[in-house]
């Protein structure tokens, strides 16, 4: 039996609440707002949703966020899942929704998440909430923020491959340029490599501008079966492959700091889709820190191990380069409301593949990749998306 997700499910609706600084809006409100916009985008009635998958929300007290969201919207789904694999949740949720639809558990699944990390919590509490995701016995007593786990991997990468602070900074500069073209981006003022290097040190080697933003916002995707996908208003964007990999929980049990489970996660997704990294036209890659993005370029197969620094310096992750990445500006410049962050990567890659990105359109984009990860590279999830022409 050939078990695959390839071409069985498509994204037919995308919606986003206002993002950035959005005071006075609860996580459920932001997520519901995004959902109504996704329904409008698809030209779909709410009653057609019979499955709901969400991430969890730091500023919300609901443990079963997917169930609470359903009640908020007065939806009674026959499939519901509040997924928690940290930053990887977005891609894991899309993969799971596609699996649920192709297995007949649901016909049309809302995949949504929202949080108000910026105004719903104080910045200290937002960081603390993230920090508490580290182990309370063997990690947190030493005051290790989640940023620190990513910092130590980047630091080791610099040591082993000669990656420079300037090369890390180039990622932030590039995504700021992308954000400047994206309506609704939180940070649009141009920055230089010197601006990044002169910004306050957070945890070496990361300066403030090497770190993602803290934001409010919600994003919703609507997935349905390939059979139904043509009933709606937009070009369906198909799920061609999905892969995940969970290599460790504690950072000290990560086998090597400079190679991550993204290698295995992406390989599974590429194999299912029948494509390779060089086939990708556009990418949305989790960019919680500049060094994270560099390491992912290597592990996802866009350049060789150790060569991501020069790759980024050469302009390969922007327009005209080999893999235009995070054309919305990513978590570094568009928005980072926590778990919902990689939902924006899905929204952007989907819009790129619909050819609806206007002045920031990557010409002729047919195939795209979204990769999400979390918890100091513990959790990895990849999804390959494509237009009808790629089926």
């Amino acid at each position: 039996m050939n078990r695959t997700l390839r071409g069985k499910v498509a994204i037919v609706g995308v919606g986003q609440s206002p993002s950035g600084r959005v005071p006075g809006r609860s996580p459920l409100d932001l997520t519901a707002d995004a959902t109504l916009k996704a329904l409008a985008d698809a030209g779909m009635r709410k009653s057609e949703i019979d499955g709901v998958i969400t991430g969890s929300s730091f500023a919300s007290s609901f443990h079963r966020f997917s169930v609470a969201l359903s009640e908020y919207l007065n939806i009674q789904p026959s499939f519901s899942n509040t997924l928690q694999v940290s930053g990887a949740t977005a891609a894991a949720a899309v993969n799971t929704a596609a699996a649920a639809i192709s297995a007949g558990l649901a016909d049309t699944v809302l995949v949504a998440c929202g949080d108000s990390l910026l105004t719903g919590m104080t910045p200290d509490l937002a960081i603390r909430a993230m920090t508490e995701s580290r182990d309370q016995q063997y990690e947190m007593p030493f005051g290790i923020p989640v940023a620190n786990t990513f910092a130590m991997t980047a630091h080791r990468h610099m040591k082993e491959f000669g990656t420079t602070p300037e090369q890390l900074a180039k990622v932030a500069v590039t995504f700021r340029e992308h954000a400047a073209r994206t309506p609704g981006a939180q940070k649009t003022a141009p920055i230089t490599i010197d601006d990044v290097l002169n910004s306050k040190m957070v945890t070496t080697p990361y300066h403030k501008l090497d770190c993602s933003l803290i934001s409010d916002g919600g994003v919703a995707l609507i997935l349905t079966s390939a059979e139904k996908a043509y009933d709606y208003a937009q070009d369906p964007i198909f799920i061609l492959g999905g892969g995940e990999y969970y290599s460790h929980e504690h950072i000290f049990l990560m086998p090597e700091l400079t190679q991550t489970g993204a290698v295995q996660s992406a390989q599974k997704a590429y194999d299912m889709a029948g494509v390779s990294a060089t086939d990708m036209d556009v990418a949305g890659i989790y960019d919680c820190f500049t060094g994270t993005l560099l390491m992912m370029l290597e592990d996802l197969g866009f350049c060789k191990k150790g060569e991501a620094g020069p790759f980024v310096e050469a302009g390969e992750i922007t327009y005209g380069g080999s893999i235009p990445t995070n054309t919305h500006g990513g978590m570094l410049s568009y928005a980072h409301p926590g778990i919902p962050a990689a939902w924006y990567h899905f929204a952007e890659v989907t819009k790129q593949l619909r050819h609806s990105c206007g002045e920031r359109q990557v010409q002729g984009a047919e195939l795209g990749l979204v990769h999400a990860l979390g918890a100091g590279f513990s959790t990895q999830a990849t999804t390959i998306l494509g237009r009808e022409s790629t089926l």
Binding site: D124, L125, I127, R128, T131, E132, Q136, Q137, Y138, E139, M140, P141, F142, G143, I144, P145, A147, N148, A151, M152, T153, H155, R156, K159, K200, M201, V202, T203, T204, P205, Y206, H250, I251, F252, L253, L257
Partner: protein
């Protein structure tokens, strides 16, 4: 909420880790050795992570290690650590093999480097809480 945020996360031993934290209080870093496959593990649990045998014995570690990676924290992860910054978090490879997260005793960050030898120094952080930290070998 604010009071909670000001509280440092102190380790609370569970069934798997009681021997480990008792050892730390006694000034010893205990590692689990599997008598079936020879695997040495940190942190403590009932089964060997390599072969799932439960024939594990605790042995005191030498306390010697080298720095695999590190990061100097300038922005505290929450109010509880504001008084401590800057401080260095270390990822130490122990002489026995396992790696562990720890922190540097002192603030000689200029002297930090990859692969530098460090030695265990157990630090008392409250009345009855002790942490396994490391100092640079001079």
């Amino acid at each position: 909420m604010t009071e909670q945020a000001l509280k440092k996360p102190y380790p609370i031993a569970d069934g798997d880790s009681q021997v480990y934290w008792d050892g730390i209080k006694d000034g010893k870093l205990m590692l689990q050795h599997c008598t079936d496959c020879g695997h040495v593990q940190y942190y403590q649990q009932r089964l060997c992570r390599l072969c799932q045998s439960d024939n594990l014995v605790h042995k005191q570690a030498s306390g010697k290690g080298v720095i695999y990676s590190y990061s100097v924290v300038h922005r505290a992860p929450g109010p509880a650590f504001i008084k401590d910054v800057p401080y260095a978090v270390l990822l130490v490879t122990l002489a026995e093999g396992p790696r562990m997260i720890s922190s540097l005793v002192g603030k000689d960050f200029e002297a930090l480097d990859f692969d530098k030898p460090v030695t265990l120094q157990i630090v008392q952080i409250s009345d009855d809480v002790y942490l396994p930290c490391f100092s640079l070998v001079s």
